[in-house]
Every structure is written in structure tokens, then in C-alpha cells.
Symmetry: C2
Subunit: 523 residues, 2 copies
């Protein structure tokens, strides 16, 4: 055993499994490559190993691209090599990546982007005038009139102005200040940047960050990287994943015994849970944050993705202002948006923004300083964000096509949300709350006792075991609930509703068949 | 005093200066905005303040976008408002941002990018076939054939293959493995990611990171963020900023008394110092890293920017392999490249790559996991990186124009490097080493005793005082040497050579006139 451990430390076989149960095939390929160029006698110990590396990074987990996704990649390679499977393709329903699932980009957005990229096209008659107008405006605000220059660290000025105007419209006139807008590399970048500034202290004064369970695992990952304390509050599954302020109180009370809770993260509409918070809930949360002196982070990247006719997105900013000056002048809030979700689904451009409210002026300076170390967010992503907040308006040439495309995407998503809920709830042993918003189902699955034993024998979380089987037998890739967090003893998975309607129907039917077979097998 | 401190804590005026001496005008605007919406009676203490924030972030400094650049922005606003100055424009020679200085993008690169952005253009006869071929290949490797999908966290497969092929060609056949290539959000992202994994320990076991002085301040900023220990080794100004391995030994020996030095960072060609390392120097460094068990980071983003006829860029990877298996199978190396520099200057796209050598397979898994938390680098930046490593070749339609554009940019830079060196060395009290590579001059400036006193009275580093005066009197924005680090008692500034030749001549003449006046004033 000692010898094996020494070999492991020296990077030789046998290796322990990687961070997500690393692919055996690639590990083997690597080992053989190593043997080719390196005479074993000259091999020395590595400086950077699992033992010597940053332990906080080692502790990071990120399920959305975890072991199940590596396995999906392996299966795809096997299919390419002609290995027979009970299916012909892997369906990646693990990640909210709309265009990868066939959703077409919004034409207007790409037209403006192409014009900005290659300004010679500004002379081309095949591009509409309103797109050219947007492109000219963006380019005029860029250094050297080019997307290839760095922007200010906080983002291009006129784009921040457009974001502020968008927020003001969205929030029925509540003013937004371009000075409070920071363009980011997707929302993830904004969230991790503000958390990085917020976290401090050691021992009992380590910063506690309250996050919903289930959560989007960016939060737990960043908390781990920063060596902060994750403070879980549980959403109420029996009540459509609603957030109950009494649960926030419980979580905070318990956390105060071992850390300094300073931040409260909210995801609305919920990821992976899809609930849309009502006015009363948002008011309760804001009052709680005010009362308990918590910095609020509102992850609102799904603000355009609301499907239930009786739900409506309301921003934390708007509610905060409408609660009066005692709140609006005191509660510190950062809210986040992105080009990746909504109806445009431009994940690859890594565009996003953060709006901060009541941030101390000195902290604003610190924030810009921190952002400037990475120079600026991708300027093409900033331009994409501009089109999202400044789309064609009635009377403009592209308005009709833009509206048609937007309504088509959102209408389809609403249809698929209902379809998914209905079909899952017809399966014995699956319960699915309404998908009020966002782009995921997070159904609860019953896992029989014998399957729990089998999972334990494989040293897997029960829902990881379930999802691995689902992937191996059907090619459908979903993420186990354990990657998002869930109440002890409950099991779930997250599946996107992004495949086209007909394909989604097939997927749901396959999950149903698999589930029934699974129940029978482990009965 | 106590009352003032309490007011400061509550976010009221008077405020202490911000991280870079925050703009008074924006602070005042903010204060008045605050008064409009917030009745003072209801104002509570902020949660996030300079006192409560992450102290490691507070300690970060980043001179390239520091106080001098904020001041430049203020002056630009004043000029716009019609306030008279002894100049009509601010010339931003503080940052290596070629296109902001009027450099035109490489046509082929932008054509491919436009085709990828808006694939309808693939039918247009106004784009060359070789650009279309590149665009089709990139799109086929993207999810849903779109730049709008997330890529794999490590980057698009075919682009990593192109990078590996490029490195192999560059290094005269030394093989590169696409599996060792990680696409990044500019080089900064790669450097900070690998440092994040490398840093660990507390107290005397805190990780020491060796960096050149003068350095590019990304390094000191990331070291501060990660709470690692910065270990300075000094480049030899009297010897054209050469790296001497005896100085590495001294720095390491002293560092070992208070930390655990694990990483050695090299910038070649140098930033801000512009030296190009010769073969012997690189071999010495590699031997030293091997001997002392240091992880090597080679920042090689200026690999295309070599101007002195007797200098040649050689990659650390190539030299490592040519030193034989004892080195090539043992020394852990990460090297970095970027779309931002070279002849293309596409800073805004935030493209880059990192190649790792001898990284432990388990660490590779950890690296992908860490990268996956931010999902992927901007796909448009990845596409830009592809064109940089896979440009038109002889026989292709675009080859001639591409070569002409590339040679024009590099030829001009070489001319400007020589011009800058020559002109600076004609000024009494300025000494400038040859600009062998990169895109900056880092001249040493003599600051008379009376000016040192004046600087002290203003609580400024002497070269900050000098550069502020230069900015205020001429509109030329350069970065004080103190932002990069320099030998105690010496003073420098960094200036880019990116303005067009005629403008650069004017800039140099203005610096000369200013310097002579400065010497007279403080004689």
C-alpha cells in the first residue's frame, strides 16, 4: 500500500480516480505517451500534485460539467468508433446551451455583431439600416473604432448606458445609473468577482455565504475557491420550491455559531428549480437582508424565461426601490444578467452585466481595480449584451423579424415547460414541480432500496448511479441532484428543456421507459 | 478625527482617497446623487467597506490601469468640456492596445470572424474561399455549428489541434499534444488559473512565486489575490535587462527563509523591459528550475515581436526538449500566448492559450474542473486564436494580402523600436536600453533631488510625480516604473511604441522637451 501511494505521488500507475472519476482511456493514453518519451529512470517527482496543490481548488466541485459529462464524451467517441449502443446519439440535456441544441441565433443580433466585426460590411446593401445604426454606435464607442481594442475595465460606456436604460424600462421607471453597471464575462464572472471582494476573515469570522439548496453549483465552487463558508437554506419542494423566510432565519441562526454570514444569494427564476418568486417573497427576503445586515446577490439571468401565466418576473432592484428609502438607501444589492439565457442563448460570447446598488464608493474603486487586472470583458460579448438590452423597436426595419424570432423561442420554451411537467408527472415514482421559469426540470425521483444498495456498492450517490445508468442505456445526459444539493434522503436530476419539441418528447418517453425498467429491476 | 473616521465608515464625505486616488468629480457626483434619494437619517453603515472587504483584494495593485490612467480619463473629459490645456488630446501610451492607436485589424482574421458570426455570409462572393474554409471548419467544431454555444472547458478541439500544429512548426518539429493545450480568456486568465492551482500553504510554507523586476503587474496582482509570497529577482539593466542565473540563486536563497518558493515566472520577450533572452540564458533558467524543483511559467505573448536583427525568439518548450530527456521529462512548464499582441493586436477578443508540459495527469483533471466552473473562454476569442495560429499559407488566395499586412505592422514596429531607443538616448538624463522585442520602451530617467523632495511633499513615488507632470503638461499618458518594480533609487517609465510613426516622433519630441524643462525646473 505504501509503495502504491508512493507510485501515485510520482504520477505512475496505479492512479487514484481523478476529480470526477477521470476517464480511464485518456489516463491510459497519457501513461503510454509518457513512457514513450521519458525513460523511467530519469523520472522525478512532480512539483504540482494532488497533495501539493491549492486545497481550496481541490475541494471545488462542479457537477454541470462533472463525471457524467466526461462519461458522455467517452460514449460519443465510442459511437464514432462504431461501437454499438442501444442508441445512436448522446443527448446533452445537462447544460443550458440553447444553440448547441439547435436553437437559431437571433438574426438581428448576429447582423450587428458581423458589422462590428468586419466594418466593410457597413457598405453592404444586404444588412438592414437599424443593424448598421447599432453597429456604428458601438464602434464609435470603442478605442480605434474596433472590437479589437481593450475597453474600459468596467465596460464600453455607451453599452453601460444602454443597460441602464433597459433596466429603467424593465423596472417601470425606477432609475438605473450607468455608473452602477459593470459589464462582465458572462454572469459567472460578475458573481465570482463580487464574492471575491466580499469574503474575508479566518476561523469563526470566516465569511458565510447563504445559498439556496438546490443551487447552481457555481456558488458552491466559488465559495470553496475563496475558502468561505457555505450556508445552506432549503427551498420548499412541497410548495413549488418557494423560498420561506423562516428557513432563512433558521439557516442564519445556525450559521452564526461558526462563521460570519454576510451574503445572501438568491436565484430567481430558480436554477435548477425553475420557481419564480412572487412579490411577497421578494419583499420578505429584502426585509430579512435589511434586518440581518446581509449583502444581497440576485442572480436574475433567467429574467426573460418565465412561462407560467400566473407568474411574472420582478427584479429585486425594483421591489427594493418600491419598499421605500429605508430599504432603497441601505440594502446593498448586486444583480446579474447574461447573454447566455433568455431567448438569445448566446452562451459562447460570454457577455453579461452586474448592477450594484448602495455599493460604498470606495468599494466601487476597489471593484474597478480588481476588474482591471484582467483588462476587460470580451468586447464582442459586450456588443452582444448591447443588442440584448437594446433590441429593435416598433417602426424599425428589423422589428418584425426580431419579434417573430423572439416570440417563437419563448413560446416554444413555454410549451416545452408544460409538456415536461405533464409527462414527468405521469411516470410512477417521478414528481415534477411546475416549471414556472428558467430552462430546466428538476424532478424528484424515487430510488428503490435495492438501487440505493447498488449505488453504495459502486461508491456513488444514488442519483449519480441513476443518471449514469440513464446515460449508458439511453444516451441521455442529465445532472444528478446531488450536484446541486438536495434535502437528505431525496433524489433528483436536472434536465434542460432545450431540445426541439419532437426530440424532447422522445427524450421524455425514453426517460419514462428507463425509469419504469429501473423500478422493476431494483424492486 | 474620530467623528471623521466614523463618517468615512458610513460612506459620507470627507472620503479618504480611493485605491488609485479616486476622481474627485465622480465622488462628488455620487455624493449628490446619494443626497437626492437617501434621507441622511435613514442611512446605515455599509456591510461592504474598505475595512470589511477581502484584505488580499485590497492589497492588489495594477499600475497599467492605475491612478495615472484615471487622471488621463479626467483630462479627456475636461478637454471635451472645452477646458483649455497646453495640448488638444490625451495620447494613451500606457497600454499595449495596438488597434486603439489606429493599427488596422488583419483583414483575413476579421473576414473569418465575420463568417463565423453570421454564416449567411458563407454564400457571399465578396469573401475569399480560404476564409470560408477556415470559418466552416471552426463552425463544424462548435456545438450547433455556432459561436453562440459553449465550447468544451478546455476549448474547441480543432482549435487546440491547430495550436499544437503551430507550436510544432514554430519549434522546428518538437511535438506538441492538443491534449496539453488549454484555450484561455487572454493570457492573463491562463496565468492566474495555473497560479491559483499552484498556491498553497500558510506561514513559512506559503508558496513563493519568483517574478522578474521589473515585471508585468498582473503577476504581483494575482500573487496578492492568492495570498502567496512575491519573490523578486532583478533583471540587469546595465546588461540590456538580461536575466542572470546568479541573481535567481540569490533571490531563491533569501526567499527560502520565509516561504516555500515553488514557481519561477519568466517574461520573454520582456514586458516592460523588451529584452529577448538568448539560448544560453534560457538553458541556464531551465537548469536552475530543474535543479531547484521549480514550476516554470513562460510568458511568451510577445513571441512575434522581435526587432533586433541579432535576436531570435526561442520558446522555453523547444529549448527544454533540446536539452534532453532528463529535462524534457521532468521540468514542469506552462507557456502562454495571446491574440492581443504580435502583429494582430486583437486585445478585445480576449483570446489566448496555455501549453502545459509534464503536468501531472491528476492536475490536468483539476485544471479542467477549475476551468469548467467558468464554463468556457469566449468562443469568438478562441476563433481569433485559431486564425493567429493557422494563417493563410502560400498558394492560398489571401496569402499575399495577409503577408503584406503582417510585414507592414511588424516592420513599422521594428522601425519605431529603433527610433524610440535612439531619440531617448539623445536626451540628457534619459537612458534607454535597446528595444529588442515586445512593444514598450522602459527608459531610466534621472530625477533631480529637488524633484524628489517635491514628490515626497505630494506623497507620490518620484516617477509617479514625473509621469503625472508629463500627463498634465503634454497629454502623454505613460506608466511610472514603480508600478512594475525597479531597483531602489532608480526611476523609469513604460511607454508603448504603438502610435503611428509620425505621431510617435511628436510624442518623443514632447517627452524630450518636457524632460529638459523638468530638469531645469528642479535643478
Amino acid at each position: 500500500m505504501q509503495r502504491a501511494a508512493a507510485l501515485v505521488r510520482r504520477g505512475c500507475c496505479p492512479r487514484p480516480p481523478g476529480p470526477w472519476g477521470r476517464s480511464q482511456s485518456s489516463a491510459a493514453a497519457e501513461a503510454s505517451a509518457v513512457l514513450k518519451v521519458r525513460p523511467e529512470r530519469s523520472r522525478r517527482e512532480r512539483i504540482l500534485t494532488l497533495e501539493s496543490m491549492n486545497p481550496q481548488v481541490k475541494a471545488v466541485e462542479y457537477a454541470v460539467r462533472g463525471p457524467i459529462v466526461l462519461k458522455a464524451g467517452e460514449i460519443e467517441l465510442e459511437l464514432q468508433r462504431g461501437i454499438k449502443k442501444p442508441f445512436t446519439e448522446v443527448i446533452r440535456a445537462n447544460i443550458g446551451d440553447a444553440q448547441a441544441m439547435g436553437q437559431q441565433p437571433i438574426t438581428f443580433l448576429r447582423q450587428v455583431m458581423a458589422l462590428c466585426t468586419y466594418p466593410n460590411l457597413l457598405d453592404s446593401p444586404s444588412f438592414p439600416e437599424d443593424a448598421k445604426k447599432r453597429a456604428r454606435r458601438i464602434l464609435q464607442a470603442c478605442g480605434g473604432n474596433s472590437l479589437g481594442s481593450y475597453s474600459a475595465s468596467q465596460g464600453v460606456n455607451c453599452i453601460r448606458e444602454d443597460v441602464a436604460a433597459y433596466i429603467t424600462r424593465r423596472d417601470g421607471g425606477v432609475p438605473a445609473d450607468p455608473d452602477n453597471i459593470y459589464l462582465t464575462t458572462g454572469a459567472s464572472d460578475g458573481i465570482s468577482t463580487i464574492l471575491k471582494i466580499l469574503v474575508s476573515g479566518g476561523g469563526k469570522t470566516r465569511t458565510g455565504v447563504m445559498i439556496p439548496i438546490p443551487q447552481y453549483p457555481l456558488y458552491s465552487a466559488v465559495i470553496s475557491e475563496l475558502d468561505a463558508i457555505q450556508v445552506n437554506y432549503y427551498l420548499d419542494e412541497d410548495n413549488c420550491w418557494a423560498l420561506n423566510v423562516n428557513e432563512l432565519r433558521r439557516a442564519l441562526r445556525e450559521a452564526k455559531e461558526h462563521c460570519d454570514p454576510k451574503v445572501l444569494c438568491i436565484i430567481n427564476p430558480g436554477n435548477p428549480t425553475g420557481q419564480v418568486q412572487n412579490r411577497k417573497c421578494i419583499e420578505d427576503v429584502i426585509h430579512f437582508a435589511w434586518e440581518e445586515k446581509l449583502f444581497l446577490l440576485a442572480d436574475e439571468v433567467y429574467q426573460d424565461n418565465v412561462y407560467s401565466p400566473d407568474c411574472k418576473f420582478q427584479s429585486f432592484k425594483k421591489v427594493l426601490y418600491e419598499m421605500g428609502p429605508e430599504y432603497s438607501s441601505n440594502v446593498e444589492l448586486a444583480s446579474f444578467h447574461s447573454t447566455s439565457k433568455g431567448y438569445m442563448g448566446e452562451c459562447g460570447y460570454r457577455g453579461g452585466y452586474m448592477e450594484v446598488i448602495n455599493l460604498h464608493p470606495e468599494i466601487k474603486g476597489q471593484l474597478v481595480k480588481l476588474l482591471s487586472v484582467r483588462l476587460c470583458p470580451p468586447v464582442s460579448g459586450q456588443a452582444a449584451m448591447d443588442i440584448v438590452v437594446n433590441p429593435p423597436v416598433p417602426g424599425e426595419e428589423s422589428f418584425e423579424q426580431f419579434s417573430r424570432e423572439k416570440e417563437s423561442v419563448l413560446g416554444n420554451l413555454a410549451k416545452k415547460a408544460k409538456l415536461t411537467e405533464d409527462l414527468f408527472n405521469q411516470v410512477p415514482g417521478i414528481h415534477c414541480n411546475p416549471l414556472q421559469g428558467a430552462m430546466y426540470a428538476f424532478p424528484r425521483i424515487f430510488i428503490p432500496a435495492k438501487a440505493l444498495e447498488a449505488a453504495q456498492a459502486h461508491k456513488m450517490a444514488p442519483d449519480m448511479f441513476y443518471c449514469m445508468k440513464l446515460l449508458e442505456e439511453t444516451g441521455i445526459c442529465v445532472v444528478p441532484g446531488s450536484g446541486f444539493g438536495q434535502k437528505e434522503g431525496t433524489h433528483h436530476f436536472r434536465m434542460t428543456i432545450l431540445p426541439p419539441v419532437e426530440k424532447l418528447k422522445t427524450v421524455l418517453q425514453k426517460v419514462k421507459d428507463f425509469h419504469i425498467k429501473f423500478l422493476e429491476k431494483y424492486a
